[in-house]
């Protein structure tokens, strides 16, 4: 590997991720339409593929309004944070052997840290808007993400025990014989649920909850600042799907096709799954959400960790 390799990886991953996030806007609308027996956007360009471009032009042309009562600098900073943290977390995702920006030995912890920082964007955005609906949204977001962060980390520790490393490339290599989804099925389910909650997607979109809170934490945002939240959400989905692929479904491992293609196929499957969740599930009440997180998910994650640890110990030392 030469020295310019990370630069190429950075440009490549940034290009693919941002375009994928834009494409996801179209994919989501088309898939939702498909599952609701409609067509969705199909007028702009072939199959409506240029719809995100039209949306982007519209967002740029809109008035970029900062409410006079808002906390100006925090208000501007908040949408930048969500994009920043989501994109930073992509640094550690190995797309295929060697194609990774930074092969950190604590990659998984880095990801967890970045996704925790993502809470700030939502909480600060809700706070800086100085609007009761935004504040409620921000409040919900911080409570939700704090409580789901806990077992998100714990659900991944089973994978770490099995692979014996926090490095994502090592985790993928450890799945050569068996994908971790089979020994760690419970961990996979827990991480999937936590991931949905972490990206604030339906059915865990209580911070936005357009039927209750207008648009929650980004009620006051317009123009490209809103666009940042919007695209940041899709980058977040892409990130969680990529991580599920890497941690539980063997990343780039697969027969015949090159690794990158396998990675994209697996990731695309989970992207579609996220959209299916949105198409089919209702939003829980907030107390139900919190009760689920603390009373069901956390004990399950702990039990999973304990059992996995015990089994690995007994196999290695028994």
């Amino acid at each position: 590997m030469t020295t310019y390799h990370p630069i190429i990886a950075i440009i490549g991953i940034l290009f693919v991720v941002l375009n994928l996030a834009a494409l996801l806007i179209w994919v989501e609308r088309r898939l939702l339409a498909l599952w609701q027996d409609r067509y969705g956007p199909n007028r702009v360009g072939p199959f409506g593929l240029l719809q995100p471009l039209a949306d982007a032009i519209k967002l740029f042309a809109k008035e970029d309004w900062i409410p006079p009562f808002a906390d100006k600098w925090v208000f501007i900073l908040a949408p930048a944070i969500v994009m920043m943290t989501a994109l930073l977390a992509f640094v550690v995702i190995p797309v295929s052997p060697g194609v990774v920006v930074s092969d950190l030995n604590i990659a998984l912890l880095f990801f967890l840290g970045m996704s925790s920082l993502g809470v700030y964007s939502v909480a600060l955005g809700g706070w800086a808007s100085d609007n009761k609906y935004s504040l409620l949204g921000g409040l919900r977001a911080s409570a939700q993400m704090l409580s789901y962060e806990v077992f998100m980390g714990l659900s991944l520790m089973g994978v770490v025990i099995l692979a014996g490393s926090f490095n994502l490339s090592d985790i993928v290599f450890a799945q050569k014989k068996l994908w971790f989804v089979i020994p760690q099925f419970l961990g996979f389910l827990l991480f999937l649920i936590a991931g949905v909650a972490e990206t604030r997607r339906l059915p865990f979109d209580l911070p936005e909850a357009e039927s209750e809170l207008i648009a929650g934490y980004h009620s006051e945002y317009s123009g490209m600042k809103f666009g940042m939240f919007f695209v940041g959400e899709y980058v977040g989905i892409t990130l969680i799907s990529a991580l599920i692929t890497v941690l539980f479904f063997g990343g780039w491992l697969g027969p015949v096709l090159p690794g990158v293609i396998w990675f994209l196929i697996k990731m695309g499957f989970f992207l579609c799954f996220f959209i299916l969740l949105r198409a089919s599930l209702p939003r829980p009440r907030f107390d139900q959400l919190m009760a689920w997180g603390w009373k069901l998910m956390l004990p399950l994650a702990l039990a999973n960790l304990l059992v996995t640890g015990a089994v690995v110990l007994s196999l290695h030392h028994g």
């Binding site: 498909l34 027996d37 067509y39």
Partner: protein, 171 residues
């Protein structure tokens, strides 16, 4: 929990259902024969205007989108000097058609009246008047109405008895 999975599966199966959306401009929508769309003013079989400018349509109109001015020609036949419908206000309720005593004003199965300027939705008489009889082919108000107009005197209309001579004592 199981019901959630069931819901997801059912929603997924909708991917294989036919779509209910009609691709409108390419697939024209079905319009019923009695569809209430763009309003027209029809002519009688002889080619004259049916409208007698009685103002009943303007009175019946719930949104006051019809404006007209009555006048008379040399023969005593009433007609509107101007007839104006503001289609940006019209709600296509069809009350004007029901109110019309001469079948002049009629609603047609046409709704494609998009304009870039609102002003262009104000239709004048020359925009409304068609060269046809519309839904009532044989009807001519002036031929059956007991009104004296040029060339037709009292009692000369169709099915009209000759006028009673009020000075005559005979039954």
């Amino acid at each position: 929990m199981l019901s959630l999975l069931r819901t997801m599966w059912d929603v997924f199966l909708h991917a294989f259902h036919p779509r209910v959306t009609k691709q409108y401009p390419e697939q024209p929508a079905y319009l019923a024969p009695r569809w209430r769309g763009r309003i027209i003013l029809s002519r009688d079989p002889d080619g004259g205007e049916r409208c007698v400018a009685c103002y009943l349509c303007a009175v019946a109109c719930p949104v006051d989108c019809i404006a007209l001015q009555a006048t008379e020609d040399q023969t005593g036949r009433r007609y509107p000097a101007f007839f104006r419908i503001n289609f940006s206000r019209c709600i296509f309720c069809g009350y004007c058609e029901e109110a019309c005593p001469t079948y002049a004003i009629q609603l047609t199965p046409d709704f494609e009246m998009s304009e870039y300027k609102r002003q262009n939705l104000v239709y004048e008489k020359e925009d409304l008047l068609i060269n046809g009889v519309g839904k009532y082919p044989g009807y001519n108000f002036w031929r059956v109405a007991g009104v004296r107009i040029g060339g037709k005197d009292k009692g000369q209309s169709e099915n009209e008895a000759p006028p009673t001579d009020i000075h005559d004592l005979m039954p």
